[in-house]
């Protein structure tokens, strides 16, 4: 009988099997979830050809809900005047084309290629203007004032998105998403256009410089390593309390059980 088979009836065998099962499940889950995100659009060059392509994409993919003239239907709002920035944000974060109507569209792998995204964004922008996709220079964070970004973020963003951009609950099933995967362009566009329930922070309320400061703060913080260990999601005391109870106390109870355990009866004892 092999070593492991001989020990199959030991009490620890049961725990070992459960632990193995948990590890396996966790590994499988980790490999099948996890999302990527597309790169932001590069500097847009509007041309008639691009707008025509964009119109074609729009008619095929978006018009069902948004109407052939982008005038909106009961299912979806009008896109007239939202600007290319809004479209670029929604499509590049995979929220649009929407999978299903619901309280909120979730971030997802984008369904259109970056080129297609740019095209349809330019088409919508050509309809009635609106905020444009920012240039790379506009979203560059070099020389940004991170401290000011922190102040602005705390006063105007953290109440929905959480101090670390980990997201938070809104009403009726809506939520402010986590900012983990948002590119600088997407952050800029979101502030500028106020997607879904998010308020609009136009360029005269929060200036482009200030937007860059906020972007610098967000991108800086989320890449800051956690010197204290695993971040536990940077959610705050809720997860800390869970870990305290489930982890710490449980470990201590196991230790207590070991220390006070009755001695195993062996033949030579």
């Amino acid at each position: 009988m092999s070593w492991i088979t001989a020990r199959r009836r030991r009490p620890v065998a049961g725990y070992a099997v459960v632990l193995l099962g948990l590890i396996l499940v966790g590994a499988v889950y980790a490999t099948i979830t996890g999302s990527g995100n597309s790169a932001a659009a590069t500097a847009p060059t509007t041309s008639a050809a691009q707008i025509a392509r964009g119109q074609q994409i729009f008619d095929q993919t978006c018009a069902t809900c948004h109407g052939l003239q982008a005038q909106g239907t009961p299912a979806a709002p009008s896109l007239i005047g939202v600007g290319s920035a809004a479209v670029d944000f929604q499509v590049s974060t995979g929220r649009m084309p929407a999978k299903a109507l619901g309280a909120e569209q979730d971030e997802a792998p984008p369904k259109l290629t970056p080129q297609q995204t740019r095209d349809v964004a330019q088409y919508i922008g050509s309809l009635a203007g609106g905020p444009a996709i920012p240039t790379p220079a506009e979203v560059s964070t070099s020389g940004a004032n991170v401290a000011l970004g922190q102040e602005l973020f705390t006063a105007d963003c953290a109440q929905c998105h959480n101090f670390d951009g980990a997201g938070g609950a809104l009403t009726y099933g809506k939520y402010a998403p986590a900012l983990t995967n948002a590119t600088p362009t997407q952050i800029y566009e979101a502030m500028l256009t106020g997607p879904e329930a998010m308020p609009v922070f136009n360029n005269t309320t929060i200036t482009p410089n200030e937007k860059r400061d906020i972007i610098a703060y967000v991108t800086d913080t989320r890449t800051t390593p956690n010197p204290g260990g695993f971040s536990l999601g940077r959610v705050g005391p809720v997860t800390e309390g869970l870990v305290g109870f489930l982890g710490l106390l449980f470990f201590m109870v196991l230790a207590a059980m070991w220390i006070t355990a009755k001695h195993r009866k062996t033949t030579d004892e």
């Binding site: 602005l152 006063a155 929905c160 329930a197 922070f201 136009n202 390593p225 355990a261």
Partner: protein, 360 residues
């Protein structure tokens, strides 16, 4: 093995239980008990009893020397590991600097791991020592009832009584009453000393620093704002009074938010005279317990306080829709100054923030 004259009638040991070995965590081993004292006849505890017992109570050595020797090596290994970890801790402290996030991460990891191993080594070693090297023993100790003997109780009562009489406390009411009278103000005095811990509230909570003509600044950037700049419907921003950027006490009462609406959305009970170009200003201090109520949902026009989810209807005077807040958010009257910047027309027309007794 048990002494037949042992008190408490401990039965002779039964044979070992049959069938499969079962490990019961937490319940004690079966009685291989020996009583604590040789002279169990009186049933007294070990305390305060005549001469100490003559015979040995604890076995000197474990029953299985081979296993004990093996365990001893395990324990020694644990202790040596612990020692090395402690030395490692000191080395990590000396060798690893901090002063940057990455450096702190490394230092924390090194110090923490070495400390954990040091303690774990001691813990595991000590546990194995107790369980496998110290001989297994189970002893019985008698409890004495908590209640003292009637004689002791009577004696105490008598002593107490005698003392009370000797002190004359019971017999002389004048002494008694004046003593009590003396202690009362003495007990109150320390509380009185606390009076200067803070100023009297007066009417401080009824007002904020907002007054006519005071500009609204966007917090952080601290720049004033015109209605032409704050032009996008669905916009929201935090504003503070001009000149009070570094005054937390003022900000704790005066912080506000401005929201821009499409035409026709704002309606009573919002005071439309206090709005400028469909821009309305509400106090940011939640009327529940004072958190900044700052979540604004552009689509539903709801202001949500993240602390306890009080929800206010922004187009309708911030009326409470859900949650524990008792009152709408106060509205700040807005107007514009000569250069077009948004300014307050006056202070809030009611106290901001949580309820208090004198609020009325």
């Amino acid at each position: 093995m048990s002494d037949p004259s042992a008190p408490q009638g401990l039965p002779d040991e039964p044979a070992e239980p049959p069938a499969a070995r079962h490990r019961v965590i937490g319940t004690p081993p079966p009685a291989q008990a020996r009583t604590l004292l040789g002279d169990g006849a009186s049933g007294e505890t070990g305390a305060g009893d005549g001469s100490p017992p003559m015979r040995r109570e604890l076995p000197a050595d474990p029953s299985n020397p081979v296993k004990a020797k093996r365990a001893e090596r395990v324990v020694a290994l644990c202790f040596i590991l612990s020692m090395l970890a402690s030395i490692g801790f000191i080395a990590a402290y000396v060798g690893l600097e901090v002063h940057s996030v990455d450096a702190v991460l490394r230092s924390n990891l090194a110090l923490g791991v070495s400390m954990s191993v040091a303690f774990l080594g001691l813990a595991v070693g000590a546990t194995v020592w107790v369980r496998r090297i110290m001989p297994t023993v189970e002893l019985t100790e008698e409890r004495h009832p908590m209640r003292s003997s009637p004689e002791d109780r009577a004696a105490f009562a008598e002593t107490f009584q005698e003392g009370a009489e000797a002190s004359q406390f019971v017999k002389r009411p004048l002494l008694r009453r004046t003593l009590i009278a003396a202690t009362v103000p003495l007990a109150v005095a320390p509380l009185v000393l606390l009076r200067d811990m803070g100023p009297l509230p007066g009417t401080t909570l009824r007002h904020t620093v907002w007054r006519k003509g005071l500009r609204l600044l966007t917090y952080g950037a601290n720049t004033p704002i015109t209605s032409a700049e704050f032009s996008s419907a669905g916009g929201m921003i935090t504003v503070i009074p001009d000149g009070y950027q570094d005054d937390p006490e003022a900000l704790a009462q005066a912080t506000a938010i401005i929201i821009k609406f499409q035409p026709g959305v704002l309606q009573p009970p919002t005071v439309l005279n206090w709005t400028v170009d469909n821009i309305v200003c509400y106090s940011k201090i939640c009327t529940h317990v004072g958190c900044p109520a700052a979540l604004y949902e552009q689509t539903t026009h709801h202001i949500l306080c993240p602390c306890h989810q009080s929800t206010f209807d922004a187009p309708r005077g911030a009326t409470v829709l859900f949650g524990p807040a008792p009152r709408p958010l106060p509205q700040l009257p807005l107007t514009t100054d000569s250069q077009g910047y948004l300014v307050a027309a006056s202070d809030f027309h009611e106290p901001v923030g949580p309820s208090f007794w004198e609020r009325g």
